[in-house]
Each structure stands twice: as structure tokens, then as C-alpha cells.
């Protein structure tokens, strides 16, 4: 390969760019060959390397420049970039924050539900106790004994009945809490996916 082959190859590889830009490049390398001197031609070709590589280097530089000159796509790219960066930086704060929030909600829901269960169980125990007490009252005063036993029975029934709505409250509150956090996750994932789609 002599310098004409080199320049021809370079010229052909750059056929996609503006003619005046191509001329500038060809002029540069033509001058380079002349300055190096004819006796150095082989060395220069060796040093310059493959003209295809040079052309690709130039074309990639041009592509980078073009993407910089297109502010819309760059801004979109940047926003996606920053969302990812912010997400990474938010992890150490975000994860404990969400985790502690979830923990607090679960604990408070659990204590509310537990106290409801305890009160209904207390009502049942009180009812059983009253029925038991009525056994001792019956021989002394029959009507009072029956009344006490009836009240006890009512309390036991009431306590057992209360367990049903408490169960509903318990299940609802826990599914609600788990929904909040799984929704959050899905939402975040959807947002990230959307931004990535916009970028590409």
C-alpha cells in the first residue's frame, strides 16, 4: 500500500460525510505525507495504521457530536441517567425508610387487632364466669340466678360473635399494608421501565 492507496481507502470509507469535511481530512493526511517526506512514506503508513480504523474513529466522533447537538434526546438520556443515579443514592436511605414504615404499620395493625381479640376473649371469659357464678346464686334466689346465667350466656355469645368482624379487620388491614408496599414496588418499576423506553 502506498500513500495513494491509503488516501483512496480513507476517501471511500468517508463517503457518507459532507464532501468539504472529507476534503479537509484528505488534505490533512496528504499534507502529512508530504511533510514526512517520500523516504518516510512506508513508515508513515505503518504509523498511521489502517485507514478504515481512522475513518471509523472520525465517524464515531461525528456521531457523538451529533448526539450532543440534539438536546431533546440528550435531556431524556440524562433524566434516565439521573433517575438511576438518584435511585442508587436513595437506596441506603430509601430502603430503611420504607422498611421502618412497613414495620411500624404492621406493628400498629397487629397491636390493634390483638387488643380487639383480647377484649372479645375477655367478654367470653366474663360470660363464662357469670354462668359459673349463677350456679351459686340459683339456690339462693332463682330469678337472680337465671338473670346472671342469661347475662353470662349473652356475653359468651357476644364475644364469639365479635371474633368474626375482628377477623375481617385483621385480614383487611394486613392485606392493605402488604398492598401498599407491593404497589410501591410495582409503581417504581413501571416508572423506570417507562423512562428507559423513552430513552431508546
Amino acid at each position: 500500500m502506498n500513500k495513494f492507496d491509503f488516501l483512496n481507502k480513507l476517501n471511500n470509507k468517508l463517503s457518507s460525510i459532507l464532501p468539504e469535511e472529507r476534503k479537509e481530512i484528505i488534505d490533512y493526511y496528504t499534507e502529512y505525507f508530504i511533510e514526512a517526506g517520500e523516504h518516510n512514506e512506508e513508515n508513515v503508513i505503518k504509523e498511521l495504521g489502517n485507514p478504515v480504523v481512522i475513518a471509523n474513529q472520525y465517524l464515531s466522533e461525528l456521531a457523538i457530536k451529533e448526539s450532543k447537538e440534539n438536546p431533546v434526546s440528550i435531556r431524556k438520556g440524562l433524566s434516565a441517567f439521573w433517575i438511576i443515579i438518584l435511585g442508587i443514592f436513595a437506596l441506603p436511605i430509601g430502603v430503611p425508610l420504607v422498611a421502618s414504615l412497613a414495620f411500624a404499620l404492621v406493628i400498629s395493625a397487629a397491636s390493634i387487632v390483638l387488643s380487639l381479640y383480647i377484649s372479645s376473649i375477655t367478654i367470653i371469659i366474663a360470660g363464662i364466669f357469670l354462668v359459673f357464678i349463677s350456679m351459686f346464686i340459683l339456690p339462693i334466689g332463682f330469678p337472680t340466678g337465671i338473670l346472671t346465667m342469661g347475662i353470662g350466656g349473652v356475653l359468651v355469645g357476644l364475644g364469639i360473635l365479635l371474633i368474626v368482624p375482628i377477623n375481617v379487620v385483621a385480614i383487611k388491614s394486613f392485606t392493605w399494608i402488604s398492598n401498599i408496599f407491593s404497589k410501591n414496588k410495582n409503581g417504581g418499576y413501571k416508572i423506570a421501565k417507562k423512562t428507559l423506553k423513552q430513552k431508546y
Binding site: Y29, E31, E35, V44, G49, Q57
Partner: protein, 106 residues
């Protein structure tokens, strides 16, 4: 040399050479190659980029019956060079701090 030269360092070196006087492509390449081992073809891209950003201008001068293209640093190129120099100082200091186990500047 083991260390790779990034685009901005290469820009800084070219601007530094040109701040000592305008010169043409081949001579500039030889001067840069005295300091750092780069391929001859890298420099055209650098020159073009610097020109597009108005850090340097070109002019042609007749030489042996043909034109020689000279590259001249502009005032904004000189400003950029100052910026590069101070950034390099900071960068160099932090690298030395790491390489020499933090005994420098302490």
C-alpha cells in the same frame, strides 16, 4: 507507558504545544509524540474537535510551492489551557496522595 491518555489530557497537551507558537499538523504530531506515545491518526480528531470548539484557528501559509496548514491557539483556547493546567494540578496532587500513601501535603 502504562497510563492511558484521555481525550481531555490530549486536548490539554495539544493546546500547551500550540501556546508556544503556531505549527502545522506533522510538526505538531512529532512534538506530541516526543512526550507521549500516541498514534499519528489520533491527532487529527483532536485538532478538529479543538477547532470546532474555537480553541484554535487555522491559516494557510505558502511553503515550497504548496500550502501548509498552521494551527494557532485562540484566546479562548488559552483560557481553556489555564483551566486544564489548574485541573491537572488538583488531579496530580490527588493521584500522588494515593500513590504515596497520603504522606504528601500532610
Amino acid at each position: 507507558m502504562n497510563f492511558q491518555l484521555g481525550a481531555s489530557l490530549l486536548d490539554a497537551c495539544v493546546l500547551a504545544v500550540l501556546s508556544n507558537g503556531s505549527t502545522y499538523g506533522y510538526s505538531l504530531t512529532q512534538k506530541i509524540k516526543e512526550i507521549i506515545n500516541i498514534s499519528d491518526s489520533t491527532l487529527y480528531t483532536v485538532l478538529r474537535r479543538l477547532q470546532k470548539e474555537n480553541y484554535l484557528e487555522t491559516y494557510d501559509e505558502a511553503f515550497e510551492g504548496r500550502n501548509r496548514r498552521y494551527y494557532e491557539i485562540t484566546s479562548s483556547g488559552l483560557n481553556k489551557l489555564d483551566e486544564y493546567k489548574s485541573e491537572w494540578k488538583t488531579f496530580k496532587n490527588s493521584i500522588e496522595k494515593i500513590l504515596h500513601g497520603g504522606f504528601i501535603n500532610e
